[in-house]
């Protein structure tokens, strides 16, 4: 793989060109990461690739090492692993709340403390997610309540 970086102070915008024989899953991942800079998330549904606006995403769930992206209307699949999405989406207001859930804090409808230091999170689509003890403290820190 050859990487070429041209630093040009006259460049108005970041311009990335990827030249390849054909798209591979690895290249798709690189493109997905680049698209996140534009607040877009690459996800698949029925074999088609969609560019989702990150603001539309309510939460992401990992089931059997596959990540599913939930919007208010549809469910898509992402090629990224949950820990990769966690790292990339943190700056866009996403937070890991359990072993298998990454939530968009802007899409949280309500929070309720539960017994055993867990937090019951109701998302804007009505789905309830339980923040496990180990992640509940992180959620509280992010909210600034501890």
């Amino acid at each position: 793989m050859k990487v070429e970086i041209i630093v040009d102070d006259k460049a108005e915008d970041l311009h990335v060109v990827v030249t390849c024989k054909h798209l591979t899953p690895d290249i798709e991942k690189i493109l997905g990461t680049l698209r996140m800079m534009d607040r877009q998330l690459t996800a698949k549904k029925n074999g088609e690739i969609y560019l989702l606006d990150i603001a539309e995403v309510i939460y992401i769930e990992s089931i059997d090492r596959k990540c599913f992206v939930y919007t208010s209307k549809e469910v898509y699949e992402s090629d990224f692993r949950l820990y990769e999405l966690e790292g990339q989406l943190e700056e866009f207001g996403f937070l890991r709340v359990s072993k298998s859930f990454l939530i968009h804090l802007q899409k949280v409808q309500s929070l309720k403390a539960d017994i055993n230091r867990r937090i019951r999170i109701t998302m804007s689509n009505g789905e309830q997610i339980i923040a496990s003890r180990q992640y509940a403290d992180e959620l509280k820190k992010r909210l600034g309540v501890i």
């Binding site: 072993k99 298998s100 309500s110 867990r118 339980i130 909210l143």
Partner: protein, 164 residues
């Protein structure tokens, strides 16, 4: 949906031992205080002020294991999502009372035909449950209020950011 925390047998055993240790400590204190006078009517105090008999210790270990098991069942994510906290507490309390009552009758912890020990049992159980329930409820209410307020602020900050 799989969002459960990974729990091992060691987590379970640790919880059992916490309940068992605390109960044994309390029972030994009771033995020191009431042991001599209650040795003829209760299997728990059969050794008088010398402490709790080994057989009773194992019975309490069984109760601790059963209560911890029930706690694991009533506080799984699936149950948390389907039952409000107060209902789970009532279920847990009912289960605990039934289990302890069965052990009292089976192992003659005190004579089942005497009303005074039952009254003491329900009073002690009721007071400790009511106290902890009140404490947890107040703590939860305060926490919920703070979290809702923080969430509102976070959303407002997000909207401002999006607006800019």
């Amino acid at each position: 949906m799989n969002m459960e925390e990974k729990r091992t047998i060691f987590d379970y055993l640790a919880q059992v031992m916490i309940i068992f240790g605390f109960t044994t400590l309390l029972l030994n204190i009771f033995c020191l205080v009431f042991g001599a006078s209650a040795r003829d009517i209760s299997a728990i105090f059969a050794l008088g002020a010398q402490g709790v008999p080994v057989s009773v210790s194992f019975q309490f270990l069984c109760v601790s294991a059963l209560l911890t098991g029930a706690r694991y069942v009533f506080f799984t994510d699936r149950i948390i999502k389907q039952m409000p906290a107060w209902l789970r507490c009532i279920c847990m309390l009912t289960f605990a009372v039934i289990i302890i009552a069965v052990f009292i009758i089976l192992f003659h912890w005190f004579p089942a035909d005497m009303w005074q020990p039952w009254l003491m049992f329900f009073c002690c159980f009721g007071v400790s449950f009511a106290g902890s329930f009140l404490f947890v409820t107040l703590k939860e209410k305060t926490e919920n209020r703070r979290m809702e307020e923080a969430l509102r602020r976070l959303k407002e900050a997000g909207e401002d950011k999006a607006g800019k």
